[in-house]
Symmetry: T
Subunit: 69 residues, 12 copies
């Protein structure tokens, strides 16, 4: 039987922008999960304050290999 | 690093209709998860019996903040 | 050979709202069809009069088992 | 030349649920616009507090006829 | 309150093809989860080597009933 | 005037897998309709029992030429 | 109970182009159905011969009111 | 800072067909807005009477440059 | 082994409208490719000047049979 | 009655890239509108010159609270 | 600079079914292209004759690494 | 006859992030093609290693004018 992967959906947020929000979500996920393998961006949105984007939020699906196979 | 959120996908069902199916799924999720923050409706469907909708099923994504950051 | 189902697309309308429009479309369909099994909401829209939604229209696909198998 | 319509996008919110959020957005729009004609639901989401949906938010497009033609 | 279901997203892979990749993902999921009820195919893709598809990957959402209700 | 076709939506199910569910739906449709011309797969899903896909369900649109033209 | 409508899916084809293919499909549908009310274009495609589009095919959903209500 | 554009959504209608409905919506928009730059067709639908399409309705997004930058 | 087709994506433009933009793209493609078989419209948009659509642009996928099989 | 929000669609452009185009569109919007609350990225595209992306264009929907409620 | 890949769109067809149509399209592509790396299924459809699917057609995007980098 | 454009699909990858992956894909395309005119982002994904995004991959469609017209 081939490998089986699981995908979870995370939302990272950053004051810097898109790339940093991706990094934040993946760093957070790697604290509690092993075998993180790839990500897919599903949505980019954010909050505005005083005429500035305050938080860019990037929704990602993160895929990881299920261990015991 | 900004907050990181996780989204899970639930299906609530109700004999009453759409709003009640949403409430049921969220009440169930809140039994085992903290920091539930928002939901997004993905799909509304249901089962029919005797020419009546018996169960309205609402698929939602529920977002919650990951704790330790 | 397994069961075969057919799906038809109906639009129910109601002055009450979403749940009632669903009920109306299914009740109407059950007058002339047997074995109605499930529905899927495809679209919610409606007509406005005097600053009020007058008719909520819900487009559904309704699935039913084809009899003779 | 035939009629021309404009569509704007509104988000209504309600503690009651989907139908009430639709009514709120349309009532608000009708304060400043004439000739509101139809609406289309684009998205249903909401905020959660204490394991309950606190606000159901319904995003709608509202169409109205442009006057002078 | 009606039943509540959870949906998770898995990717099965197989050298045989689509049906076998579905079976692999579900067999793997059933090792650690009870009450698996249905699946929905979201995506079919794969890796190529030497002009042959080496692994067909099928992304599925798998739904299961949450127990204690 | 050119040909006019009609499309209907069917769901075939099979214990074998995707190709067999397609065949079943088309065989069933051909019992009562003539001039079946093409099909388009819209959705693949199924039911799980004992950690195995029990029925693969394939939703298809089937196109056929309307006769009298 | 409000009106209930049914939607069917037709494909019209024409050597002239998009508008004529729409007209053809609706004219054909009106031969056997009453109360045709609206149409929605779902897809435009066609066949090519000798470097020319030979048939433009327009897939439409056609909505009509169900009679006895 | 680069240019900023705004997009609005209009529905043109015509007894002639698709191209004429596009022209009508844009002509109407140009009565009250400057700097119209491009359009994108979002939807084609229409109303039927006596077995004929009476009005083809084309929903467009129209983009225009915001002036003062 | 059955036939294999390739699909390429073209954008035709015309001052006349949708049908003419389709014809232009296909005529251009047929100058350098053989076996053109079908097309699918993916997008309709255009440029505006002086309150008039100046160029209607139609994005198509064009399918053709690969020769040597 | 709960809050009502309006969403408008803007296209920001920048020689720097995605984040800067978002900032530009929001800064421009805040010159003439109050209560800007959130944004959603709908599309990323751009113009090329001399083998380089010259302008990255980001289409956003910007949501703001309607004042008098 | 990182790797750059190109994706082309092919349609394989087979009397056997989905997996065989995928294999056929990839085998054909590998006759004239090197570095084929992955595929993504975009559409499954087919032609019907005598109440049987005669050809299953699978549309795929095939990705390959551009050589000289 | 108006201009005709072709669109191809490329995947750029970069260790820096989204904007750099776009630049890489376009620079690569410009080595072998003239008249590159615009791009559209279709997908953002990437590979993870050691809890960090290692490669951000951006799938773009790149449009260019076909020469001889």
């Amino acid at each position: 039987m081939g490998n089986v992967y699981k995908k979870i959906e995370l939302v990272g947020s950053s004051r810097e922008g898109v790339d940093d929000a991706i990094r934040g979500a993946i760093a957070k996920a790697s604290e509690s999960m092993r075998n993180l393998d790839w990500f897919e961006v599903k949505e980019i949105r954010g909050w505005i304050q005083d005429g500035q984007p305050q938080h860019t939020q990037v929704t990602l699906q993160v895929g990881f290999r299920l261990d015991d196979e």
